[in-house]
Amino acid sequence: MILDGTTLFFLIFGALTVGCAAMVIISKDIMRSVVWLAATFVGVGILYIFLNSEYLFLIQILVYVGAINVLILFGIMLTKRRMVGGDACQEYEEDIIKRRRSK
């Protein structure tokens, strides 16, 4: 099988995109999932370049990385969570205790 440059790069970026998409599911930390998701979106955008549609690539970056991802990040940050390696949020813990008692 003879690989020309375009096919080779298509395969490389395709594999990277699939890898990033898998990492979205595999990674434990939801924040890292979002970063991998951004990488996936960029990867999909790069695949659009191979289809000779640069406009779609730019819109993909603008809409998905610039808007959708930031929206997801806001969603994560506005919900209660544990600081990395630190103490759990106090109200969150109190909530858990209340729920346990009610059971």
Partner: protein
């Protein structure tokens, strides 16, 4: 001035020819073959593009750094003092700051998310440096001149809020988290009027490349005249987008230490600080391109000099706004973005469409 690409392609051909001749002189077969390969068209193209990119980046960065000096000096005058005095006219202040920042230790907070912490600042800086390449100095001095150049710049801008949010979160610190949230909210609130103003320019000129937009303005009229509302909106949004003083909520030195970049030390912090000015330079460049006719002007000085003169004048107004206005609050910034600037941008877009439809342009 002749075209940068043509000049550097000739230079690269000469340079690689020299290297190939040297390799040939060794009389080793594989080295001679390597020398011949060096002289093929793809390699010459690659090396010359790399050289163009490096030269353009350094030039643009130097003018971006000049902004810091300009701000120190002009802000000093606005406050009735002399500004920095280090070296000749205060030019060496930047070098002193740069050396100081480079010599600092690199510290990563113990409880932070190390990889994301390192990644976020690089994503932010890389997007800033990529933006440099999007703004041409003239139709001869540029890195990329593609049909979708304006859209490319806007798309790279979209990486900003994302990397800021990641950076603010991964530092695992209240101040950085609040700073990151504020920065992202502000950037998004002001990005939409900014984009609508760009759209109005694109509607009138019918072109998405900077060369096309500037050529149109050379032939017809500077767009600040028909689209004065849009120019004003773009200016206010640009000041907000570059996180400068009236809109400095993301940094807010009094409340948030240093905003989302609090935990960054050493050269990362230095480049983050400088990249505020780089982004201001890019936004001034965008304003010049879209509304002030870019490098258009009488031909007694170079086109590049016209462009830079206009950029520095626009930045003077940035400094003036900083010196003359008071800071605004978070709720006010969102109100300003969504209730004032957005309607203004929409009205401006309507004017642009009306001018196009009625056949004025």
């Amino acid at each position: 001035m002749s075209n940068l690409y043509i000049e550097l392609t000739n230079f690269t051909e000469w340079l690689l020819g020299l290297v190939a001749a040297l390799l040939d002189w060794t009389k080793l077969g594989f080295l001679s073959d390597f020398g011949e390969w060096l002289q093929t068209a793809p390699v010459v193209d690659f090396v010359s593009t790399l050289l163009v990119a490096v030269i353009f980046l350094i030039t643009a960065m130097m003018f971006g750094l000049c902004f810091i000096w300009q701000e120190r000096k002009f802000l000093g005058r606005f406050m009735d003092r002399r500004g920095t005095q280090v070296g000749f006219l205060g030019f060496f202040q930047n070098f002193a700051d740069g050396i100081k920042v480079i010599l600092k230790e690199h510290i990563v907070p113990k409880d932070s998310d190390h990889r994301l912490f390192e990644m976020a600042i690089f994503a932010y800086l890389a997007s800033t440096f990529m933006l440099f390449g999007c703004i041409p100095f003239s139709d001869n001095f540029y890195v990329i001149d593609v049909d979708l150049a304006v859209l490319l710049g806007v798309a790279i801008f979209a990486f900003g809020p994302f990397s800021i949010l990641i950076g603010g979160w991964s530092s695992n610190n209240k101040f950085t988290l609040i700073g990151g949230m504020r920065a992202a909210a502000q950037l998004i609130a002001l990005e939409i009027p900014l984009l609508l103003c760009i759209v109005s320019v694109v509607v009138i000129t019918g072109d998405l490349s900077f060369v096309g937009i500037v050529t149109w303005q050379e032939e017809n009229i500077w767009l600040i005249v028909p689209l004065c509302i849009g120019a004003l909106t773009f200016f206010i949004a640009a000041v907000g987008e570059s996180e400068r003083i009236p809109f400095d909520l993301p940094e807010a030195e009094a409340e948030l230490v240093e905003g989302w970049a609090t935990e960054y030390g050493d050269v990362r912090w230095g480049l983050q600080m400088a990249s505020d000015y780089f982004r201001a330079y890019i936004l001034c460049g965008l304003f010049t391109m879209l509304f002030l006719g870019g490098w258009a002007g009488p031909e007694f000085i170079w086109a590049e000099a016209w462009y830079l003169t206009k950029v520095f004048i626009v930045f003077f107004f940035f400094i003036w706004v900083r010196a003359a206005t008071v800071r605004i609050r978070t709720d006010q910034i969102l109100k300003l973005g969504w209730r004032r600037l957005l309607p203004m941008a929409v009205i401006n877009l309507l004017i642009a469409v009306a001018l196009k439809v009625t056949g004025v342009f």
